[in-house]
């Protein structure tokens, strides 16, 4: 098969690479030319090489099913998604602004709650929050920053506007795939990198290390940093191990750590105990300390919260950060930006209807067939209703769910997500994509250049999650000079 942009069946929405069949956007000119010259056999061969490389590298994620857990190879598409640097600069500024405001919000929520007292954020949303952690009240993490690593999902609608779909502040994953995708592309199409100034992404592990090191309680020593993983059966274990390796950090499980009477955290090493300074935890905060949260958790470390609150260990993201990772709280982020920063949001939210408000709820119930309904606290694309693709039974079920627990549901118009040409079974076809950049904040800010482009590999599907048939693409932010 040949990648031929001339016979590309646009879907009517916004396509990231083509304005019309045979008419690439200016930034994609070179790419389309290049693919047009690539013989089908050559493309096939390179595609096969990449599949083999993915299997060999064991770039996998785990899918849980009744038949047991299966390691699936990471589905990767060879056609990159291209963003112009001028557009990216604006997005980057918007992402930083957003995370800055979110961190001010979290810090406020665990202290004076001025935003609630000021009437900007409703007290009952907070009261019903599943991810508010009473144990975190009054804690003072360094720099007042709680959410150090944020994966923000962006989508582009038919008119070209980029919206924020959600902020993932608990344990966002995917950054290792962003890094791997770039490695694969370099192996697969080295010639393309000669044609384009693609901004590099591989400084992320170093930026992550610096961000974490800044959280160390022992300032004058080289900090001991560890990635805390739930273990090899976690679906993101590949990433945990990858990031530890890239940063030269330890990869630990809860049972490798112990908190002693001095409130310090120690690693069990071959020479006895050694103090640990910073933990990049990839375990949900519900599980990190059985003394404080779920007592049945075997993944955590008894006493970890005590150590953190005493300032003896840095934890990223801080326990309790999830309070801002809630699809109802999301709707208030533009207001937070105004409230804390006195600025207008650079990146708009997708218009959202909160079912806890009577007017909104009436509208949602009357328009279930047009809207996407999401539960406040799920992630991974689970528990959603995609109105236009739903059956009357599904809609009836959601109407009931909403009536029972309006606080837990919000709805958004069904966006027509932008598409990118994707190599499918026997042709190049448009497939819907989103974009997850990663933003870091402790002493300084860092934003990945581009991010992880996730693609819904099923025709017409809007679900990009890897656990549900999603794949990914390399994302190029390119200089505007060429």
């Amino acid at each position: 098969m040949k990648i031929d942009c001339g016979h590309y069946p646009l879907m009517g929405g916004f396509d990231e690479l083509l304005e019309a069949p045979g008419k690439p956007r200016s930034r994609a000119d070179g790419l389309c030319d290049y693919f047009a010259t690539l013989a089908p056999a050559e493309l096939e061969a390179r595609h096969r090489a990449v599949d083999a490389a993915i299997m060999a590298a064991g770039i996998t994620f785990t899918v849980y099913s009744e038949a047991g857990n299966i390691d699936r190879a990471w589905p990767f598409d060879v056609v990159p998604r291209i963003l112009a640097k001028s557009e990216w600069d604006r997005i980057e500024a918007g992402l930083k602004q957003r995370l800055r405001a979110l961190n001010l919000f979290i810090d406020d929520i665990y202290h004076e709650q001025k935003i609630v007292k000021g009437g900007v954020f409703p007290a009952d949303v907070l009261a019903d929050s599943k991810n508010f952690r009473a144990a975190c009240v009054g804690a003072n993490p360094p720099f007042g920053v709680w959410a150090h690593i944020c994966g923000t999902d962006l989508v582009r609608d038919a008119d070209g506007t980029v919206y924020v779909l959600e902020d993932n502040l608990r344990v966002p994953s995917g950054v290792s795939y962003m890094l791997e995708n770039r490695q694969l592309m370099k192996k697969l199409f080295p010639e393309l990198f000669a044609r384009y100034d693609v901004l590099p992404v591989d400084d992320y592990p170093a930026a992550l290390y610096d961000m974490l090191a800044a959280l160390s309680p022992r300032e004058d020593e080289r900090p001991e940093i560890a990635v805390l993983t739930p273990g090899i059966y976690n679906s993101a274990y590949f990433e945990h191990s990858y990031l530890a390796q890239q940063m030269g950090a330890h990869l630990v499980e809860g049972s490798d750590l112990v908190v002693l009477d001095d409130d310090c955290v120690y690693m069990k090493t071959i020479e006895g105990l050694m103090r640990l300074d910073v933990i990049y935890r990839r375990v949900d905060d519900d599980f990190i300390d059985p003394e404080v949260f779920r007592p049945d958790s075997a993944l955590g470390v008894p006493g970890l919260m005590r150590a953190w609150k005493a300032g003896k260990v840095g934890i990223a993201n801080a326990p309790g950060s999830g309070v801002a990772d809630d699809k109802v709280v999301y709707a208030y982020v533009p207001k937070m930006i105004e409230y804390y920063l006195n600025e207008e949001a650079v990146l708009p939210n997708v218009p959202s209807y909160l079912c806890m408000h009577d007017d909104d709820r009436d509208y949602v119930l009357a328009n279930l067939d047009k809207l996407v309904v999401k539960p406040a606290n799920e992630s991974g694309g689970y528990g959603m209703l995609v109105g236009p693709k739903s059956t009357p039974e599904e809609r009836a079920k959601f109407a009931e769910l909403i009536a029972d627990n309006p606080r837990n549901y919000m709805a958004q118009p069904t966006l027509s997500l932008s598409t990118v040409p994707t190599l499918c079974e026997d042709a190049i076809e448009p497939r819907h994509v989103d974009l997850r950049p990663f933003i870091l904040q402790s002493k300084d800010f860092y934003v990945t250049r581009g991010g992880l482009t996730r693609v819904a590999l099923r025709r017409g599907s809007l679900v990009v999650n890897s656990s549900q048939g999603g794949g990914s693409k390399d994302t190029w932010v390119i200089g505007d000079t060429r």
């Binding site: 090899i232 191990s241 499980e253 069990k268 071959i270 020479e271």
Partner: protein, 319 residues
Amino acid sequence: MMLARVAENLYWMARYLERAEDTARLVNATTLMLMDMPRGASFGWEDLLKVVGLSEPFHQFYDEASESAVMSFLIQDERNPSSIFACVRHARENTRTFREVLPRESWEWVNELYLYTSTHKSSALDRRKRLEVLTEIIRRRQAVVGLLSGTMSRDEAFQFMRIGRNVERADMTSRVLDVSYAVNLPFQGGQFTDLVWMSVLHALSAHQMYRRHVGVHAKGYKVVHYLLNDSQFPRSVRHCLAELQAALGELPGDGPQRQVMSLIRALDAADGRKLAQTGLHEFCDHVQAGLGELSDAIGQAYFRAAHAQSLSQKQFNLA
């Protein structure tokens, strides 16, 4: 400083990979020897199982030790934790837990070894394909060893793998020697003695070096001496112990080191000529028991923290 859990996983990963390779070599040597045996002579499949210490587990699942049953059990049977496939799979699962301490390609290569073994294990049951498949498994395992040797710092992680590899290797050498004694009994002085001792050398891939450094005839006492005490051949027990001494020297603590010393003293006192006549079985038993104690001492010294249920500051030297 290395995590106790990671150190333990590295140690076992190296032991499993070594066991997989050693078993592959042993099976290849056996297959070749079968072809040299006079027609009508029966081969002692039971003895082969004894070499690898798997007689008992084998008979839990099989009645008769036929060629096909033994080959399947040694090569691909997942119920046998020491089968080549089970070892490779176990090593791969272990490698997953410490990918961050190894050079990146090592995971890829261990994974490729696993994928290859998994795909080809059943064709190795066929005598015609066996040599080719097992040789490829050995080659891929050696590639991992070479990669680590060429790209990895001689840090603690490296030393734990080196320790695991040499404990396993010394154990295998002593086992092969041990059974050669049993197999050789009926042949004492007979025309096949040379052949059987040569096959012992083959099983440990020692035949070529033996010929170069000792001689062309496989005399029992010379083979015994060579495999126990030669200081240059990498599969001799003495060489493995020297490697263990060096690796342990790079790590803190001296409990395991004392255990190695006592094994070396036993080797110093060993007389190949006498052992070839009598007492080889007891001596090999002694070596295997000593290696078992060494493995326990290593666990005590380095992995203990990984299993400690309750801890107090006193139990550990605070760094």
